[in-house]
């Protein structure tokens, strides 16, 4: 898988920049620490972090697939599908405490339903909705990349570092 290689290069590159293992508190704003902690708690072994790593890496796969589907739906102007894809990714990102990604997904869900970002008011037309989704999607992907990078690094220190399972 592609992510494998990227991660390895990252783990090689990053340690010199930031010293020591990454801390969850550094990602305040992107990751809700309490939520993520309670998943880490579920690890039977704090050294290999098998469970949480499995979940997180599974989420990466899920997120990347969802982004692809979103892009396709965006090209084909399928607003309803975009809304449900947004809802879908919102659920899993929220469960992991990935706040930024969750918020962006929620916006996409609302835009896809023809509403504004809070989900209360109607947007004038599909064109507006699609434009807003396009913008939000790219933000969302950026936010995702950020937490992905962090989490992969986190598991390279805290987990067994292998993500090609």
């Amino acid at each position: 898988m592609a992510p494998t290689t990227t991660t390895k290069t990252q783990t090689v590159q990053t340690p010199p920049k930031t010293e020591g293992p990454p801390k969850l508190s550094d990602m305040e704003g992107s990751i809700e620490q309490n939520t993520f902690d309670q998943i880490l708690e579920m690890d039977d072994d704090d050294d290999d972090r098998e469970f949480s790593q499995g979940i997180v890496f599974g989420f990466f796969e899920q997120a990347e697939n969802t982004f692809k589907e979103m892009e396709k739906a965006l090209e084909e102007h399928r607003l309803a599908d975009l809304s449900s894809l947004g809802h879908f990714l919102k659920g899993s990102s929220a469960t992991l405490g990935l706040t930024k990604v969750k918020d962006a997904c929620e916006k996409i869900q609302h835009y896809g339903a023809g509403k504004d970002e809070t989900g209360t008011n109607d947007l004038p037309d599909d064109e507006t909705s699609l434009k807003k989704i396009e913008k939000t999607l790219s933000d969302c992907k950026a936010d995702y990349k950020e937490v992905e990078k962090f989490l992969r690094r986190y598991y390279s220190y805290n987990g067994d570092g292998s993500n090609d399972e």
Binding site: T35, G91, S92
Partner: protein, 645 residues
Amino acid sequence: MDGGQTTTNTAPAGNSSDFVRKLYKMLEDPSYAEIVRWGDEGDSFVVLECEKFTKTILPKHFKHSNFASFVRQLNKYDFHKVRQNNEENGQSPYGQNAWEFKHPEFRANSKESLDNIRRKAPAPRKQAQSNEDSVPTQQIDLLNQQIVAQQQQIQHLSDRYAQLTVDHQIMLQEVMRVQKTVLNHEHVIHQLMTYLLSVDARQRRDSKASGPFQAQGQGGSNLSPSQVASMDDEPSSPLQHASKLLNDMNAEIQFNLGGLDSLGEPPKTGPVVAPTPAMDAAPRNGVVRSSTAAAATPSNPANPTNAATTALVYPKMNGDIEPVVYPVGATNGIDPMYSEHVNNVPYPMPPKQEVDDARRQFADNRKKSTNVDPGWMRSPHILLVEDDATCRQIGGKFLYSFSCVIDTAFDGLEAVNKIQDGSKYDLILMDIIMPNLDGVSACHLIRQFDRTPIIAMTSNIRSDDIQLYFQHGMDDVLPKPFTRKSLLDMLEKHLVHLKTMPQGIEAAQPTAAVTMAAQSSAAQSVKEDSSPSQSPATSINNWQTPGQFQGMAAVHPNLQQVQGQYVPAAPAAAAAYAVDQNGVQYPTAPVALTAAAAAAARPQQRRQVSDMASTAENPNLAKRQRVYAPQPQAMVNPVQAARTG
């Protein structure tokens, strides 16, 4: 003549009808000219003498003597009676009584054309058909009318039904409101009683301290010591009686309104409280007074007039006027010897801090321990319906950490199928938005045949959303993203019947405490007094028992959580609880514990029902009850320590 007829009859070939040929033959006979003959133009025939024709000619040629039949036959062959329409007077050229019949093919000297005269077969049948049709049409009309009428009736009934439903709703709300009011009044009365009893107790304590001599000196009465001793009981009798009446009333109210809801606030005087010594006290004193009178009288003990009026019944009043100067409100004046009070005074407000402390402590410790055994009787079977793999994995892991047996379904359809196939679960956690079949629809389907509690797991928790979930038979809502704690709370709330020991002992202990106290044996009271662990505070707690019990009656899940934390702190019980937390079954537990568990069995059942009712109907209630929850703990542990140790 007949013979001749037949010969001529056979002569002409062709397939003309018998009747027509007979008719033609008849007309050829000139002897009948006076009666029947060809018409003047030869294209019709005329019956001149109807009577003679019927009597003489018809029998000869047609073997009957019925002119009407003859005319009917003619009609069948499409002969028509010629009418004299042209003239107003209807003058027939053949005379008044002449019948002239005509057929286009029936002419004199034109025997060949007879073949063309056919019986008009379809015509009569058509006639019949139309007659048959007309009758059912009428019937259909009638039926239609009936249907319309019935529809109107149904419409009317459904309107009426809707109206009644609305009325019913309104009535229900009214009843609820009235019930709340009544409960509030109850509460006020109980608080009043509490206060009065504290005043009363202070009076008695004072009287005991000062002894009979003071009573003699102040009241100037000539009472022997034995009389004074007996008086100790008497002043409280009106209060006791009032308490008893209240208790009885509460029991009734609870019984009657239990079906409507369980607002929790009602002073739930458990069955244990019912057989209180107050029952004995009233007959002993032989005084039956209304609760209002009893409450009103001592409420103003400082008033000499008031005291005087009741002096006969409550002699001690006179001697005890002065205690009113004591500060009011504190309960430190309670005489622990008076075990009667233990069961009669519902004490309203336990302190809140303890709860918070306990919970905080609990929360801190929880973080460290990954796998909390909530203490199930058996592992709950949970169906987790969730389309998102991440949520499913994490939810499943959490449930696993709570010692649950987990089954998962990818969407609503799979969930419905699983239930339909007979899988039994203790709880269903249901995502709402899912492919194929959403959670609400799935729940709706499952509710057609199954009552397993279903919890909606969703981030859509606007009030109208939630209303929808409840409308379709869901039991609760777990907002997403859920935390481990919110999930556990939800499990404990809905699986209270699967909870084991901690809850059981919890239930047993207040019961035991109350029962012990209820015996009102002097020995028991003394024992409690002399017990080293019996600080003034605990004695107050004991005194509050009924109030606590009321809180206990509807157990909140948090109670159990707190329990687990608390228990190891009680040294005597620590071993026993440790056993339980490790999941070892009852039989291996110490004997004392087993006994307690056995005692728990019944109260536990009772609470289970009331709890389920209250938690289901009033989510807010649970929050309120948290305030009460740890309260029994403070009281229970010393008792428990005393019993097991």
